[in-house]
């Protein structure tokens, strides 16, 4: 049952399967209907499931999320598409103030099974607001779950698991990986949505990454192998909650940890991971936990993004520093 498909196609197939499996699943967003979404993630779904289930919405993000909340209260399972990372902020109030808190406000008597899909990250030469990585702003909010697949298989399975989840899930899609192909076993039973996996085994340094940076870390591991260094790559997959057990187990083996993400390092996921891992296995660390990521500056114009984004060299530089400590 294994098929080769790009991440975008895997997401599309996953949405199709969710629509087939559960009549309460709805897709909502700007241009998700006839156009199939600006990245074509919903391609063909409007034609096959109709405008009652694949809903082109007015261009108002707060309205999209706010009405999705209402539909969820009525028993539907809306899957919302925010067109680009930088466009989510008009909906931020509805997500943080309402969606995240309503289950607790009702003392558990209502559920909010809403998935918010957000293509995120840079690397596609876009204009301002189309390349951001705001995941920490959502992971910081109790009541939200935050996940990000790095490959086709996870894109296919994690999206369905997010839709089946009774909690709101912010689903960050690595947009520059949309066209990367990978194997998807559509029959395989998925593991836990929030489990991290060791994507590459190694012994000298652990690299922890998620979404678009997993590929960079795997490339770094391959390059390091040529120099006789063995890097382990942990694909976090979930940012809220984070599977600290898997990271800790890896760090206990390697003694060194470098966290890599596109998002600015300041208050980013790497800060939380560094603090928790330091608490959990301080005496197993041979070096401080290091971070590689974006700067405390607005995402730069496209002509600078190659320098801005953490690439192979910056990851390997951090590896060198961890090993030299």
């Amino acid at each position: 049952m294994t098929q080769t498909m790009a991440v975008a196609k895997a997401l599309n197939e996953s949405l199709r399967k969710a629509l087939e499996n559960d009549p309460k699943v709805l897709i909502m967003g700007e241009d998700v209907g006839k156009l199939g979404g600006v990245f074509r993630i919903t391609d063909g779904l409007y034609k096959d499931f109709g405008e009652g289930r694949v809903i082109d919405t007015p261009l108002a993000e707060s309205g999209i999320v706010g009405t999705a909340i209402g539909l969820a209260l009525r028993g539907y399972r809306p899957v919302v598409e925010i067109q680009f990372d930088g466009f989510v902020f008009p909906a931020y109030d509805q997500i943080v103030t309402q969606l995240a808190k309503m289950h607790a406000r009702a003392l558990g008597k209502i559920k909010l099974p809403v998935v918010i899909r957000i293509p995120y990250g840079g690397g596609i030469g876009a204009v301002e607001h189309h390349s951001e990585s705001p995941e920490a702003l959502f992971a910081h909010v109790p009541g939200l779950k935050v996940v990000s697949p790095s490959n086709s298989s996870d894109a296919y399975w994690m999206l369905q698991q997010a839709i089946e989840c009774d909690d709101p899930v912010i689903f960050f899609e690595p947009k520059r990986r949309y066209w990367d192909k990978g194997e998807v076993d559509v029959a395989a039973l998925p593991g836990d949505l929030h489990r991290a996996v060791v994507a590459q085994q190694g012994t000298d340094v652990t690299l922890a990454a998620y979404g678009p940076m997993v590929k960079v870390c795997l490339e770094a591991a391959a390059a390091a192998a040529n120099e006789g260094r063995s890097l382990e790559v942990v694909d976090l997959r979930s940012l809220s909650p984070i599977d600290f057990d898997t990271i800790e187990a890896s760090v206990r083996r390697t003694g060194r940890l470098v966290v890599v993400h596109e998002a600015p390092v300041f208050y980013g996921a790497g800060a939380e991971i560094a603090a928790r891992i330091t608490e959990r296995c301080f005496y197993h660390l041979e070096a401080p936990v290091l971070r590689v990521g974006g700067f405390h500056a607005p995402y730069p114009p496209a002509r600078l993004e190659e320098e801005y984004l953490p690439g192979l060299d910056r990851v390997l530089d951090a590896v060198d520093r961890a090993l030299a400590f």
Partner: protein, 393 residues
């Protein structure tokens, strides 16, 4: 009964001149031709060409009873706040007709999305008044089951719930259900972007939702002139659905107009905006001091339009209720106040570990870890009974 946009004649700018006192301006607006009224402040029954209503004496007495009991509950809550039993209270004093009239217009299958002042609407939905007090006492953030009475939790951030109501109504339409949704908000919330987006979505999807704006003239200290240059009900026209302004202190008119609006929505004609023109007689909440921003004259003028007094005048003049009826309501009011008082005082504090409950429906390893760590910390105290440690540390 026909429903159409009831536009006020004349230029709204006329009554907004700088030299006009607020009291006079309010009087002029209340007397404008667009205002739907079936019972005058003097208790005279009048007819309106678009909105008729014919209630039995029993129904009229029922509306009176609802308003009196709601007012008594509200007064008791203020007292409880003053006694330190509640942290805060948002009084509905003066808005009883707007809330009872609209709430009684709903059917059991309809669904209500309130803001945080809809104690009278909650009463009409058979929500136990004690449920409303938990959040003001600080023992929960609401906590009642919204689906038990089709009455959503109170929403504190103004305007947000209008979008939830619209989405819910979109779902009602998808289900083909014979029901409508009503979203409450105020004149202040009418400035929120979420309300504008709710109007847009409701119009585009022809959602069966009634937007019920209680224009109580004041958003804490800011008058409606700071929110809108046109009467709020006129905004509906720009979105392509009808809007109507009703005398919010006239329970008969509010009932008739809201019934028509809900029927308009239920019958597939889409959303409608009702602006109930009323007045917040009390403070915004118990922390507010309205003497800093509005005049006694204005309040007195609105006091003469009291919703309960005018219905009582009518009942008495028409001989629709006897002394025994009023005496019975007095007894009932006292009993309600007593029950609320005792219920609040006996409301238990939640156990400390409630902090970690219901954060997620499907659980979270992060919450589990922090719960275990905190429980361990608490258990390090001598009297560390975790579940009852609420007042111990």
């Amino acid at each position: 009964m026909s429903v159409k946009s009831t536009a006020a004649g004349g230029s709204p700018a006329k009554s907004r001149g700088r030299t006009t006192t607020r009291g006079t301006a309010a009087k002029r607006r209340a007397g404008e031709p667009g205002l739907v009224q079936l019972l005058t402040p003097e208790g005279e029954r009048v007819e309106h060409p678009d909105y008729a209503i014919d209630l039995t004496p029993e129904e009229l007495r029922g509306l009176y009873r609802d308003m009196v009991l709601t007012r008594r509950f509200d007064a008791e809550a203020i007292t409880l706040q003053r006694q330190g039993e509640l942290g805060l209270w948002a009084s509905l004093l003066g808005q009883e007709a707007a809330q009872i009239g609209s709430g009684r217009a709903t059917r059991p299958d309809d669904y209500v999305f309130p803001t945080y002042r809809e104690h009278g609407v909650a009463w009409t939905r058979d929500v136990d008044p004690l449920n409303l007090l938990g959040m003001f006492r600080g023992v929960n953030h609401g906590g009642w089951d919204p689906n038990e009475n089709n009455f959503q939790l109170y929403t504190i951030v103004i305007g947000s719930q209008t979008l939830h109501a619209t989405g819910y109504a979109m779902g009602v339409a998808k289900d083909g259900a014979d029901a409508a949704v009503i979203a409450y908000f105020g004149d202040g919330a009418s400035s929120q972007g979420d309300v504008a987006e709710a109007f847009t979505f409701a119009a585009v999807y022809n959602a069966p939702v009634v937007f019920f704006c209680q224009n109580n003239q004041w958003a804490i200290s800011e008058p409606t002139e700071k929110q809108s240059r046109v009467p709020i009900y006129q905004r509906a026209a720009g979105y392509g659905f009808p809007g109507v302004r009703v005398d919010g202190n006239d329970v008969l008119a509010v009932l008739a107009v809201t019934r028509a609006a809900l029927e308009h929505a239920r019958s597939g004609q889409g959303p409608m905006l009702v602006e109930a023109f009323t007045y917040r007689m009390g403070a915004h909440t118990t922390t507010d001091d309205p003497t800093r921003y509005r005049s006694d004259e204005e309040r007195e003028e609105w006091a003469s339009k009291d919703p309960i007094a005018r219905l009582r005048t009518y009942l008495e003049r028409e001989g629709l209720a006897d002394e025994a009826f009023y005496a019975e309501i007095d007894t009932e009011s006292d009993a309600l106040a007593k029950r609320v008082r005792e219920g609040v005082r006996n409301m238990p504090n939640p156990g400390t570990m409630a902090i970690f409950e219901n954060v997620y429906a499907d659980g979270s390893a992060l919450v589990d870890e922090e719960r275990a760590q905190f429980a361990e910390y608490l258990s390090s105290f001598e009297t560390g009974d975790v579940e009852t440690a609420g007042t111990g540390h």
